[in-house]
């Protein structure tokens, strides 16, 4: 009787396996760099980028009747990276995704999901380096090959609320926010005067990407552009890293920043007088009287020498694409001076193009609010280009939230332990 039941289950499992095999699992792509024809692309779902994307597709399609683009927003999911990763595994990724996060690129590359542009297209490396200049090298893999096209950055700076600064007795036109001491004194003045409950409110949560908004910009500024991982070794457990962490720990210890999740936008809601933001903030905070300054350093580095985090989004060409030749042509079209200008105009985000401030001087003259961001684009650092980048950032974030946000243990020890874990991850394939 038992043997018969086992036979039944075996029959059903075989049937289910056949069903799954039949329904799931994509087919290997037969795409090649020489093929031309229709392609599909995905772009971000924010209003401004949609407007840019639609006009770009319209302009391309009008001139290429035999190579039409079908475009759609990235499907909804817990994150764009999770959706893209799943589409790679399923074999149904589009040809191009205009919102590929650099932190996930090496992982997608390991999955076999991204086309090696340097090997597939003769002019790709030269095109990327010519357009983005020295910054391009941050986006090459260990062998110097490009699996992503550096597209746009959102260099982060500090926004401050001029009214709150004035209320706290601080000069709203020349706020003392250059050194750590100045920043802390200004922050104390804001909280003590009651101008705002908190001076600043970076997200205190444990999500890996939050490290890019508090620790990393200040570390980049303090070190003159040292990335978190260089030559396969963590860099942040050094004196500069300790100074940055001590600065933030003082901010939290003295209650100058909130350590709880804030449901909403603390800067917009008047809960905090400062925020660490990218150029997207210009449009978001247009109802506030704000000013902007670069992130502080311990010694008050001049503004034109300050580095920060890029918060870039790039373009990926995916191996599931049949007509990869057309896809590359679309990349060149979408990152042309004309389309980069439109991206700047419609979204306020900075194309990763060298000499941006000079190339689009007219735009920055007409939109002075974006000038600081334009100048900053030449001095941005990127997340580690490793398949374990997310795990590395998570290790650092865990150490940071423990030692800095919640003040547990010694900062040097926490940074050293995180650095050792990151070194291990960097050594893994």
């Amino acid at each position: 009787m038992r043997r018969r039941a086992g036979a039944h289950v075996a029959v059903m499992l075989t049937l289910a396996a056949v069903l799954i095999t039949g329904c799931g699992g994509g087919q290997a792509s037969t795409g090649s760099p020489d093929k031309h024809g229709d392609i599909t692309i995905w772009y971000s779902n924010n209003e401004q980028e949609l407007e840019w994307g639609k006009q770009m597709v319209e302009a391309w399609n009008a001139d290429h009747p035999d190579e039409q683009i079908t475009a759609q927003e990235i499907p909804a999911g817990s994150s764009s990276e999770a959706v893209i990763g799943a589409s790679i595994a399923a074999g149904n990724a589009p040809c191009l995704i205009f919102n590929t996060a650099p932190v996930a690129v090496a992982q997608f590359q390991k999955q076999g999901g991204l086309v090696n542009l340097s090997q597939s297209f003769d002019d790709a490396a030269a095109y990327i380096e010519d357009r983005s200049g020295d910054l391009a090298s941050q986006y090459a893999d260990a062998d110097g090959d490009y699996f992503q096209i550096p597209w746009k950055s959102n260099p982060v700076v500090i926004f401050y609320n001029k009214e709150m600064f004035a209320e706290a007795g601080l000069d709203p036109d020349k706020p003392p926010l250059h050194t750590y001491d100045e920043f802390l004194d200004s922050a104390r003045a804001i909280v003590d005067s009651g101008a705002a409950p908190y001076a600043i409110y970076p997200s205190p949560t444990s999500q890996f990407f939050q490290i890019d908004i508090d620790f990393y910009p200040l570390y980049a500024a303090e070190t003159g552009g040292t990335p978190l991982v260089e030559d396969g070794k963590a860099t942040f457990a050094d004196d500069a890293g300790e100074r940055v962490a001590e600065f933030w720990r003082t901010v939290y210890d003295e209650g100058l920043a909130g350590d709880e999740i804030y449901q909403g936008d603390a800067f917009a809601d008047g809960k905090a007088a400062m925020a660490i933001v990218g150029p997207w903030a210009v449009a978001v905070y247009q109802d506030l009287d704000w000013g902007s300054v670069p992130v502080p350093t311990s010694k008050g580095t001049p503004a034109d020498e300050i580095w920060t985090f890029s918060d870039a989004k790039n373009i990926g060409l995916y191996t599931a694409c049949e007509n990869q030749g057309t896809a590359w042509d679309v990349v060149e079209f979408a990152t042309s001076p004309e389309q980069d200008g439109k991206l700047l105009e419609l979204t306020g985000q900075m194309p990763l193009r060298r000499d941006l401030a000079e190339v689009y001087a007219d735009y920055f003259d007409e939109n002075p609010a974006y000038r600081a961001f334009g100048a900053q684009t030449a001095r941005v650092v990127e997340v580690p280009n490793s398949p374990n980048a997310v795990a590395m950032l998570q290790k650092l974030r865990d150490a940071y939230t423990g030692a800095v946000v919640f003040g547990n243990g010694s900062i040097p020890d926490a940074l050293r332990q995180a650095a050792a874990a990151v070194d291990d991850l960097a050594a893994q394939p």
Binding site: G26, A82, Q111, S206
Partner: protein
Amino acid sequence: MTTTAARDIPRHSPNRTRLHRVLGANPLGIAFSAPYLVFVAIVFAIPFVSSIWMSFHDFFFSAPGADVDHAFVGLANYQAVLTDPAVWQAFGNVGVFLLINVPLTVVLALLLAFQLNRVVHARTFLRVSFYVPYVTASVAVVAVWLFLFGGDGLVNQLLGPIAPEPSWLVNPVLAMPTIALFVTWKQLGFYILLYLAALQNVPKELYESAATDGAGRLRQFLSVTIPSVRPATLLVVLLSTVTGANLFTEPYLLTAGGGPNGASASPVLLVYQKGIEQGTPDVAAAIGLILVVLVLIIALLQRKFVGGENS
């Protein structure tokens, strides 16, 4: 005619016997049970077997046709998991969660169901009221709890000077108990319904006999109600343990990633981080399987000690 045909066919042809052995006496039964078996196979059996395989290999999700070698790595993934302090912390956290959530769920659900069973007026309204949090998405009710248990929240305002510092959800000691409280409140309606169904089956004669023997209400509750709903209690204990061990949404939303400092991280949250975010589903599978084994052990112990002789 029929009789003739029946005589012509050998009664035990070898093919038919083999088919009969595989398909059973009622082959049609397979057709009726097939949809559910296929469902179980697709959503449970095959993924479960796959995850066992993944946990012993160097596995990551790859594009179809990609030249990838998923090498056998033995226990390396389990070693990575068991030497990671974050994993131990997450299992400890979920242990704390279960120690609070399961007993609280059983006691509150039974007491409330007992009272609801006696209520005459507004019975439907009360039952629906308890059930509403269960059917409401966690995302929607989390905001309310953040409002209640935030530093400036209602609870702290009521507590005044005795409010905990740091506040509930950023306090390493209180974060997990607060989440356990939230989950207990949210799931309670479902378990109340289970107990209500069980209470309908308790014979009234038992209460009458107990009353005749001089038992008061408390004695009736202890000596009649609790033993009579024992099978339901076992079900509540098992279900709350299994769902509690799979805790994910609440730490993901209430403490945004298991904070403070990992104090509310759960094993399933780590599975998400490692399997989806960090691209190491092999390590995530090892965590998942360790969790399955632990839950099975706990469930067997619960069945033995809560279920009684008939379990």
